[in-house]
Symmetry: C2
Subunit: 346 residues, 2 copies
């Protein structure tokens, strides 16, 4: 269906139909109206976008939509877009900066703004978006020097601290961490919080207990196997995201390690199935849907000419520990009493 | 950045820039080229779409992106779009026909095609899409009479049959089903398969054991509580999707019912956490990512003029039972021996 067919039906020129559709006065509006109705002609969104300079579409880029955390964040975003007459162009970066680059360059020409949960902190692509004047809001990325972007984060350092305090309170001193990539804000900051909390309490960490994963389930699985193969395995493991927690739990099940009898497990981010797992997981929980809602509200606000040059906003949401059943006092025979261990600052 | 800024920089009219960008000959192309490069002006996707009549965007509408099944399906779709230079406009219908209607009418003007996992079978919106000549592929909807759409489904009847055969094989005769809405293909067909398999083996089902949920976790929870409150509760429950299975398991935990000691549970659709649950879930599994891949391939094929009028394709994928630990022979004292029960066709 094109404007030419409508014009032919109405017996006028395409230019006249175009003027009619733009609300301008034309000679025979009734005939054109009838032709539009009969043919069911809608001016295409592309034509309307071209006129308004707005697409009413928001690009959303997340590392992995099958991670339940990101699915919940996107659901929160959509609860805002649906009432504000925007829509969401969704892409996964698969935790790859290269893929993210490609997606953002493509989106820059199709959307009014972008919400990005970046693959790494080092990424230069946001600067490209800035050059294109496409507003951007970060999920889970700290403001970097020179940044001009809004961001919604959670208190990663405090979450890791809560996990460590919980384990220390149970009597653990040999605590391992399966961290995320150090070039991501959650990877870097959760590890900082973990090490700082141990140091603050004078508890050391063996280098072989301070591991770096990639936030995928498989790395949680593999790194847990490597911890179990150590001469002195830890009595507790802190995993820095939900998928690595599942990987760790699978490895512990496969190796028939009693949780929490032999090893305690605490993870960052809750899961819908958290209470139903064997054992029910003790986790650091954050407001996931709310993070998406706030990010979308920040972005839509930024699209208002009144706020376009406003200073960047950074919203940091609190997190809280949910104490279920995957952590308990240490029972392994390798554990010396806490006072016998020499603290070694990390 | 607009065409007006480029024109001012190049010292020509906006109309001249526009002609240049359309590849038409103009008087001073070098000056315009330089202005475009210096200002980093990209013709908007909207302008390009208007020219080509294509948006290279596919609309995807699912009932709930936080359902891990749909997240996996969308991931499968994206694995195709990324290599084919398409992108995905995503929307949730929240299992609401009204919301779905609204979303599809909006999408029809912005996308080259739509993949829809519909809220109900009765929906008339697809006909609207057909009138707009927007190709459509269904996920999880049977071909209805007069349909002209491609579809990718799984064998719902066979999946329910496998679940029933498994429970009968363990010795259960008092089996309840928490079905999905009867106006959806998975809701209707899984119930048909369930009832047919019982009837084929001469086993009856009490009306109060044949329940209808809404595919959400809360209905799995509530309906399980109602089953537990019956004078003669079932010894086994079949739940027709993943979220209702989780709801059922939560209710059984909350009521401290031993699974599978007191009640066996088998659900349609596996979960990533399925093996880690208490107890590990016995499920009917289907190829989720593959369903998304095939749906997107069908749609992109339909965009090829060569296939635009091809007869509708209907792909039905097989499903298989994964036998974990949530089902076992019945032990409850209410269970009479099978031969003592009179079969009652459903």
């Amino acid at each position: 269906m094109t404007i030419h067919e409508v014009a032919a039906r109405a017996g006028v020129s395409p230019a006249t139909v175009s003027r009619f559709l733009r609300g301008q006065s034309v000679r025979s509006p009734e005939a054109i109206r009838a032709a539009v109705d009969e043919l069911g002609y809608w001016p295409s969104a592309a034509a309307q976008s071209l006129k308004s300079g707005r697409t009413h579409t928001i690009g959303v880029v997340v590392p992995d939509i099958t991670n339940p955390y990101f699915a919940a964040v996107v659901k929160g975003m959509e609860s805002v877009t649906r009432t504000e007459n925007y829509r969401i162009l969704l892409a996964n970066s698969d935790e790859s900066s290269e893929r993210e680059d490609h997606v953002l360059a493509d989106m820059a020409r199709r959307v009014d703004g972008v919400i990005l949960a970046p693959a790494t902190e080092r990424d230069q692509t946001p600067l490209k978006l800035r050059d294109s004047k496409v507003p951007l809001v970060f999920i889970d990325r700290d403001l970097m020097e020179g940044d001009e972007f809004d961001a919604v984060l959670v208190d990663n350092v405090d979450g890791a601290r809560q996990a460590v305090e919980h384990l220390l309170g149970l009597g653990h001193t040999r605590i391992a961490a399966i961290n995320g990539p150090p070039d991501t804000t959650p990877g870097r900051r959760r590890r900082e919080g973990f090490l700082a909390a141990l140091t603050a309490r004078g508890v050391g960490i063996a280098p072989e207990h301070d591991l770096i994963g990639d936030f995928r389930e498989s790395s949680g699985y593999q790194l847990t196997l490597s911890l179990l193969s150590l001469p002195e395995p830890p009595t507790a493991i802190f995993t820095a995201n939900n998928l690595m927690t599942l990987g760790a739990l699978k490895a512990l099940h496969d190796m028939r390690v009693d949780v929490p009898g032999r090893i305690s497990l605490i993870g960052f981010d809750d899961l819908d199935t958290g209470p139903l797992l064997r054992p029910p997981l003790t986790v650091i929980d954050r407001p996931m849907v709310e993070q998406g809602v706030l990010a979308m509200r920040l972005l839509l606000r930024r699209l208002d000419p009144q706020y376009v040059d406003d200073i960047p906003r950074r919203i940091v949401l609190g997190v809280k520990l949910i104490d279920r059943a995957s952590t308990a006092p240490p029972k392994g025979q390798h554990v010396p009493p806490p006072r016998a261990r020499k603290a070694r600052p990390a």
